[in-house]
Amino acid sequence: MRLTLKIWRQANASAKGSMHTYEIDGISPEESFLEMLDELNEQLTAKGEDPVAFDSDCREGICGMCGLMISGQAHGPEVTTTCQLHMRSFNDGDTITVEPWRADAFPVVKDLVVDRSAFDRIIQSGGFISANTGSAPEAHSTPVPKPKADRAFDAATCIGCGACVAACPNASGMLFMGAKITHLGELPQGQAERGSRVRAMVATHDGEGFGGCTNIGECAAACPKEIPLDVISQLNNDLRNSGKYLR
């Protein structure tokens, strides 16, 4: 395959970036998108040009480290992570635009690498169940109804990649946050902190500069783990009832 790549290049957080065009040939449709970028970097290095910086780690779709805006779609045209996107999803001769996640809460570090530590700070503010090591009761002392356990699991599959924010026209992080609220709120162990959790996380989210949610639904459509939109409703429900949970 022969491709034209238009890639965002930006030397560092404070530098001004711009799109650069590269031609690449001899790409196999079996390669993953990131392997195609690896190959571009090998060629750039051989020519003495600075390779393109991009994040990735597990390359099996679970760590959440990779994430690119590919021709205007978060993680590209398939419902999966960038690392699990393969070149067979493209056609010979295509022009592909590659940009970093765009959100002021996710500042660009270099080229296609962004800083998603805002997500960590949201979790820090309440995305946990306070259970000190060694203080846990016997696991079977609290049964969890299977439907609740299943819903908690579905929400807990979030990989924190940030595609929801990237795809959202408002750059909102509500799907990420809603997934955590739903995961912990569905479980009996999560009830004690249910009210304070949602309030603290929402306050942090808004303070980090994410946009507000207008329920457009692009987040859920872009989510590689197919987290459904109802976690946002659940978050709002918990927020509305947070006073009750705090009593």
Binding site: G72, Q73, R102, T214, N215, I216, A222, L229, S233, N237
Partner: protein
Amino acid sequence: MAVTGVIFVLFVLAHMYGNLKLLSGQLAFDEYAHHLRVFGEPMLPKMGLLWIMRIVLLVSVVIHAYAAFTLWGRANNARSTRYAVHKMAQASLSSRFMRWGGVTILLFVIFHLIHFTIVKPNINADYTQAQIDASPYIMATASFKIWWVVLIYVLAMIALGMHINHGLWSATQTLGWANSPSARATAKGIALIVAALTVVGFLIPPLAVAFGLIAK
């Protein structure tokens, strides 16, 4: 935003119901309009209910618009560098038209209030100002015989329908009532039905007048 939005939807539905009285003829419609003004007497003063509604709606507009512009501003600040290429995956036309659609509706409401409440200008030379002031029925039918007035109302009602279609479903999300896939489907369905009902219900009287389906 959700709460004020729901207030608007309830108002709009009631308003639509009243409008449909137009089909019952001048007597019924004028009687309805009069009754609105004396509703609740003597417990309420004359025009009492109307003013309560006006105040509630006015406050709602302020809150709704304030929230909307705040969200708009936050969205702009949250992504100060735009994408070179951005494709929407599934966003409905309604959801993408909320902000400008909302502005459109606001402008229309101002026009509508001037048209039928505050100034009541006579724009149809076939009628006198006295006739218009005397009968709300005549006021309405006189206007809807003019094509561009009908066109404005048709466009505004389409904008309103789209706004309700996304807005009502969005309100269920914001209020936390769409916590499952089935609840989400129901909410979206109801929103679509209410939106369609609104568009059709509001447009029947003006179109009926425009096409001469109502006598006189």
